[in-house]
Subunit: 420 residues, 4 copies
C-alpha cells in the first residue's frame, strides 16, 4: 500500500499535478513509514476500509517532514485502488513461487515418466487391480495435469495482476484530462500492466486465478492420493523419501507416514471452497460492492499458500520417491494373474465374440479364485490353443503407453517454455 | 453413448480388428437402438456403471440383427470411455449455445456502451451515490467481464471436449499395436480432438470449463445486480423490457418485477458451489476413482444450463433495456449535488492540500444536508472564487471514461473474433 | 401446489371469506387438474414465478366448472406461499425416506458392532497399520455418526417443514382480521405445523436441513471409504455382498468392484457444495429476494436424493457385508507384528520412560524390517524379561473398546426412539 | 495443547500410571513452557503433525527440571488427541463469544420489533415496493432467524466441544484396564464432557457447529442486506449510527457508508464455503485420515471469527439504528399509493372475483402511472362506492403482524433462556 502511494505521488508529479519535491518526500516517507497494524485494523473496522486509517497515518508521517508534501498524499485515488493494487503487488511474487514449485513438481514427474516408462505395475480401477500398465505411464498421467495447468497459471497471474486505478467512481475523474497520463506513469512506476477499464467491480481475474490455483493444488492432491495408496504396507510399491524426523508417530514407533501426501491432501481439501468464495463474489453492487472485494486478499492468500504447500510437498516427495519395481511386479503376479483377464478375454473373443469371451473369462477367473489356482494355469488347461505365456506377459500389455508418455513429455516441455 | 459405440465399431474395422460388415451393422443398430432409461438406471445402480447395462442392451439389439456383428460391440473399450466421450459429445453443442448467448449479451452491452457513452448518471459505491459517471461507461465495465471470458470459454470448451479413450487401464492395451490407429479413426469418426494421454483420472479440463461457466454466469449476475438495483422505483433509472405476462405479481397488481435479473441471479447463485464440486474431484484414486467422474455429467449439465439461462435472460434484458437518461440526470441533482463533492474537494485542494480540502468539503456537505440546501449553493456562498457551475457540470467530470469505453469495445471485438 | 390451493379454498370458506360451495369446487378441480409442465415452465420464465401461470391454468379449469368458484382461487396468497409450501409437502415424504434409510444403516452397523465386538483387526492411521482394534469397535465409530445425526435430522425436518403463508408482504394483510383463522385452517387442512412468523425471507430452516442431509451422506461416505479400502484385494478384509450383475467391469472379467461404496462416495461428493448453496442464500433482499428461494426446491431435491442414495447403498452393503476375520488376523500378523509396537513401547516405558522407550522401539522395529524378521522375535531376543506372548496378543490390546461399543449402541437405541 | 498434557499427567497419576510428583512437575512446566512457534511449524511439516515436535520440546523442558518426570509426558496419548482437544479448548470461549454477540443482536432486534410494531413502511418484494407492513414486523422476521439459531448454536457447541481421547488407534489400548479411569480423570481435569466413543474419524460435530456458525453469520447478513438497502439515499428509511471516523470515504467527502452492514456481508460471504469444507471432511480414511482433521482448527477459526464479526457489527448497528418513520411513511405515499393496490384488488374482488379484480386493479394502476396521478384518486373516481380512505390507510393493512411479532418475541425469550 505504501508502494502504491509512493508511485502515485511520482505519477502525479510527472503529470504536473504535484511538485516533484513533494512526491519525493512522500516516496521517501512511504519507504520507511511505520504502522501499528492492530490499531489500523481497529480503525478500519469503524471506517469501513483499511485504506482510510492507513492514509491518515501516512499523511501524518509525511506532514511531520513536510506539511506541504502532505497535501499531495493519495491524490485523486480511492480506497479500493490502494487495496487492490497492494494485493496485486503481493500476488506477483506469490504466483512466481507457485509457478516455481509447479515447475519442480512437473520436472520430477517427468523424470519418473521417463525412468519408469517400462516398469510394469497394476493399474487399479475402483481400487481393484485391473490390467498391467507402467509406472512411467502413471507418472505421465500425473504430469499431464501439470502440463495443462502450468503455463495457464502463469498467464492468468499476468492477467489478474494488473494495476487497479480508477479513483472515486472508476473514471479517474479527479485528474481532469490528466487521468491517462497519471495512470500510465503509475503503472510504469509499479511495473504493472493496465486493464482497458478499471476492474473495481469486475473481479473475474481473481476468480480465474483462484480456480487455477485450486486446480494446481488438485493436481498435487491427485499425485498424493496415488502415492499414499501405493505406500500402504499391504501394497508397498512406492515410498516417500524418509529421513530424520520424517513421518513418525507420537504413539506408534514403527510408523512411516506419508507426510508429504498428507500435507498436499490437507491443502487441496480446502481449495475448492476458497475458489468458490471468489466465484461467488462476481456481482458486487454498482461501482463498489458490499463485502466482495474487501476480503479477497485473505481468500487469495489462503488459496495460493495452499497451492504452494501442496506443490512443494509433492515436489519433494517425487524427487525422492522410492520406487519398488520388484514389489510392483510381485503384486501383478500376486493376484494369481487376474489382472491379465482382459488379455485372455481379448484372445478368446477372436473366436467367441466380445460378450461370450467376457462371460467365459469371468467364469475362468471365478474358478481360479474358488480353487486357489493361478488364472494362467486355469486358462492353459482349459484353452491349450492359446499362447498363455504371451498373454500373461506385462511387456506385451503396454498398448500405446510409450507414445502417450512421449506426447505428454513434449507437452510439458512446451508448457514449461511458455510459462517463462 | 450409442454414437461412441458406432464410431468405435467403424474404427475397429478400419484398423482391421472387426469386419466392415459387422461395424456397419453395429452403427446401423446404434443409430436407431432404443433403451428403457429407467431400467438402465436401475441396472446401473447394481452394476456400478451405466455403461454395463447399456452395452448389454445394445449388444442384444445388435445380436437380434446379426449374432456375428454382436461379437464386436464395445470392443476393447471401457465404461468410462463411453460415459466421458458421451458427455463430451453433449457438451459441445451446449458450449456452443453458451457461447452464442455470451456473444449476444456482449453485443447488447457494447451497444449500450456506445449509445450512452455520454449519458451522465451517478456512480454508486457501497450503495451510496458517489460521483458522476456515464451509463455507457458502466455498460463498458459489464462488457469488460464478458470480453475477458468469452474467447476463453470457447478455448476451454475446445480443450475439455476431447476424446476419452483408453480402455481398461488407460493404455489401449486391448488393441495390441493397433491402439493408435483405432484412436485416430475413432476421433475422426466423432470429429473430436485427442489428448496426449487419456484423462480418465486427470479431470482438470472439466473443472476449468466449469469455473469459466460460473464466471460467465457471474458476469450476467453482475449486470443483473445493477439492473435490479437501478430498477428500484426509488431509483428508476432503467427498466427491463415489459410485455404481456412479464413480471407481474400474483398478489400485487401494480408490480413490475425485474424478472430477467431474477433469473440471472438465481442461476448464478448456484454456480460457484457446482464449480467447487468439480474442483473437488481432481484426485480420483489411481486409474479410475470412486465417485468423482461418475456424476460430472450431472454437475456440468447444471453448470452450463445455469450459465446459459443467466446469459439468455440478461441478453434479452439489455437488448430491450429502457434507459431513462432524464431520471439519471435528476438523481444526480436530487441529492443536492452531493455527488460533486469530489470535484469541490479537488478544486479546494489546489490551495489547501488534499487532507484539509477533504475535511472542509465534508463540513460543507454536512452543512448542506443539515440546512436542506444544495451543496452547489453552499459552496458558491462560502467560496465565491470557485467556478461553481463548472464544478457541478457532469460533462466535466467524465475523466478518462471515453477512452476506457473505446478500449473495452476494441477488446470485445477481438474476443468475439477469437471465439469464432 | 394444487393441494395448497385446495386447502386454501377450504380455509377461506371456513373463515367466511368464500362460499363453501366454491371451495369444494376448487378442491375437486385441484385434485384432478392437469398441467402442461413444459408450457408452465416457459411461462414461468417470463412471469418470474411458476405460481403465476400455474394459478392462471388452475383458475381456467375451475372456471370451466364454475365461473363463480373461480373467483376464489388463490385468494389472498402470494406466489412464494404456494412454492414454499408445495416444497414442504414434497420434503416430508422425502425426509421420511431418508430417515428410514438412516435407521436401516444404523441398525446394520449396530449388528456388526455387536457381532464383531471381539474380532481383532488392525487400526489404520494415515493409511498405515497402527495397533490392533476390533472390527466391532470400528463399526461402532461408524454408528456413532449416525446416532448423532439420525434423531436430529428428524427434528430438523419437522422444524423446516412448516406452512409458509404470509400473502403479498408476509403479514396476511389480505384477510383483514381473519388472517389467523385462515392460517390455522390452512395448516390443519395440510396437516402442517406453523411458524411464529412467515419465513419468506428467513430461510435458515432449509439451510439447516440441507447441512444435516450432507452430514448423513457424509456418514455413509465414511463407511464407504473404509469398506472400499478394506475391499482392496491387497487388504481383502471385507467385501460388499456379491450377486448377479453386481460390480462387474465392462472391460475386465475378473473385477468385483465396490459398487455400493462407489455410489455412496459419488453422492456424498456433491453434498457439501449443495449445502453451501443453501447456506449462501440466507440474505434475500427485503421481503422477497432475487434468486435465493426460487431454486431451493432444486437444491434440496438433489441433497435429499443424494443422502438417500448414499444411505441406501451402504445399508445394503452393511447388511450383506462379508467379513473375513481370518484375513484380519492374518494382516495383523503379516506385518511381522509391527502393529504391536505400541504395546512393546509401553512395556518398555515402565523402566525407561516414554521417550527412551519410544526411541528404542523405533530401533527394534527398524531392525525387524531391515532383517526381515518378526518384531516379536526381535523383542524376545533383545528383552527376554518381557512377557512377549502377551504383548503380541490382540485380545490384550482392546483397551476400553468394549465399553465404547456398548455406550454407542445405547446412544443409537435412544436416537432411534427419539426419531420415531 | 500444554493444558492437555498437564491434565493427562495428572489423570495418569490418579489412575496409578505415573507418580504424583512427576505429574505435578509436568503440569508446572506445561503452565510456563515456551515454544518457538515458527520452529514448531517447520518441524511439523516434516513430522506430519504439530504434536510431534511440540511433545519433543515439552519433554525437553520437563527433562531439564526432572528427567524422571519427563518419562511420563504424553503417556499413552496420540497426536490427534492433543490437537483436537486443544482445538476444543479454544472453541469453548470462542463459542461463548459468538453466543454473547448473538444474544446482543437478538436483543437489539427485539427492541426494534417492539418499538416499531406499528411504524408503517413498505414491504419490498423483488426490490419493488409491495404492500404496507411495519418496521417492527420486519425486525421480528430478522429476530426469528436468531431465535431459531441461538439456543441451537449453544447446544451444538456443547456437543462438539467434548474431549478427544483415544490413543494410538482410538481404544485407549495403552492404558490396559485403566483407560476408562484415565479418560474420566482427564475429562474432569479439563472440565470437558466425553463422547461415548472417540471421534477421531467421526467429525460430524465440527461440521454441524460450522454450519450453524454460517447460519448465524447469514442471519446477520440478512439484516445487513436490508439495512444497507434501506440506507440508500434514494430510500433513506434507516441509517447506521454515525460517529467520528465512521463510514467516510477516502475520495468522497459527502459519503456516509453502511460500514457495519459491509462488515457483516463481507464475513457472511465467506462462511458457506468454509462450512462446506467441514462438510467435505466427513470421510477420513480408517482411524486417522489424510488431510481432513489436520486443518479444521484453521477453518473453524475463520468460521467463528466471521460469525462473531458479523454479529458484532450488526449488534452495534441495530442498537444505534436511526429509524426515520417519516421517510417510511413518505415512501409509502411517494409511489402514488401503488402499494395499496392489493387492498383495492381485494375490495374489488368481493364483487368481481379474484382474477377480474386483479386485472382491473392492474389497469387502474397503469392508468395512475401513465397519467401521473395518485392511485387513490384514480380509484376514487372510478369506484366511488369504495371506502377509499380506509383502503389507503396503512394502519388498516397490518393483517396479522402484531400477533406475529408477539409470538416471535416469546420465541426469542425462550431461546435466550435455553442458551444460558
Amino acid at each position: 500500500m505504501a508502494c502504491f502511494e509512493a508511485a502515485l505521488a511520482h505519477a502525479c508529479a510527472e503529470a504536473g499535478l504535484a511538485p516533484a519535491e513533494a512526491a519525493k518526500t512522500i516516496a521517501d516517507v512511504s519507504a520507511r513509514a511505520e504502522f501499528d497494524a492492530a490499531a489500523l485494523a481497529r480503525a478500519a473496522r469503524t471506517a469501513g476500509a483499511l485504506t482510510i486509517p492507513f492514509v491518515k497515518r501516512l499523511t501524518e508521517q509525511v506532514a511531520a517532514v513536510s506539511p506541504e508534501a502532505a497535501r499531495y498524499v493519495h491524490l485523486g485515488a480511492t480506497s479500493q485502488d490502494v487495496i487492490d493494487t497492494g494485493l496485486v503487488l503481493c500476488l506477483l511474487p506469490a504466483s512466481a513461487r507457485v509457478l516455481a514449485l509447479s515447475r519442480r513438481l512437473g520436472d520430477a514427474a517427468a523424470v519418473l515418466a521417463k525412468r519408469h516408462a517400462r516398469t510394469p505395475m497394476a493399474a487399479r480401477t475402483l481400487l481393484q487391480p485391473a490390467v498391467p500398465v507402467t509406472f512411467g505411464w502413471k507418472a505421465a498421467v500425473w504430469l499431464s495435469m501439470i502440463a495443462r495447468s502450468h503455463a495457464r497459471f502463469a498467464a492468468l497471474a499476468r492477467e489478474a495482476c494488473v494495476l487497479q486505478f480508477g479513483g472515486a467512481g472508476g473514471t479517474l475523474s479527479a485528474y481532469g484530462d490528466k487521468g491517462e497520463a497519471v495512470a500510465q506513469a503509475l503503472a510504469a512506476g509499479l511495473s504493472l500492466k493496465r486493464s482497458p477499464i478499471p476492474w473495481h467491480s469486475a473481479r473475474d481475474g481473481f476468480a480465474r486465478l483462484g480456480a487455477e490455483a485450486a486446480i494446481l493444488a488438485g493436481a498435487a492432491a491427485k499425485i498424493a492420493r496415488d502415492v499414499s495408496l501405493l505406500m500402504q504396507p499391504e501394497v508397498a510399491e512406492v515410498s516417500e523419501p524418509s529421513g530424520e524426523g520424517r513421518g513418525g508417530s507420537s504413539a506408534m514407533p514403527h510408523k512411516r507416514n506419508p507426510v508429504a501426501s498428507l500435507a498436499a491432501l490437507e491443502a487441496a481439501q480446502r481449495t475448492p471452497a476458497l475458489a468458490a468464495t471468489l466465484l461467488g463474489e462476481l456481482a458486487p453492487e454498482h461501482e463498489r460492492g458490499l463485502g466482495q472485494w474487501q476480503s479477497q486478499w485473505l481468500t487469495l492468500r489462503e488459496l495460493l499458500a495452499s497451492a504452494a504447500g501442496a506443490l512443494d510437498a509433492m515436489g519433494e516427495a517425487l524427487e525422492g520417491l522410492v520406487v519398488d519395481a520388484k514389489a510392483m511386479r510381485a503384486n501383478l503376479e500376486r493376484s494369481g494373474g487376474l489382472v491379465y483377464s482382459e488379455s485372455v478375454s481379448i484372445a478368446l473373443s477372436a473366436k467367441l465374440g466380445k460378450s461370450a469371451a467376457h462371460a467365459l473369462t469371468e467364469k475362468l477367473s471365478a474358478t481360479a479364485v474358488r480353487d486357489g489356482k493361478r488364472l494362467k494355469d486355469v486358462v492353459r488347461q482349459a484353452h491349450p490353443e492359446l499362447d498363455v505365456d504371451s498373454l500373461f506377459d506385462p511387456e506385451r500389455c503396454l498398448g500405446d503407453s510409450q507414445a502417450m508418455i512421449e506426447r505428454t513429455l513434449a507437452d510439458w516441455l512446451s508448457a514449461r517454455e511458455k510459462a517463462l
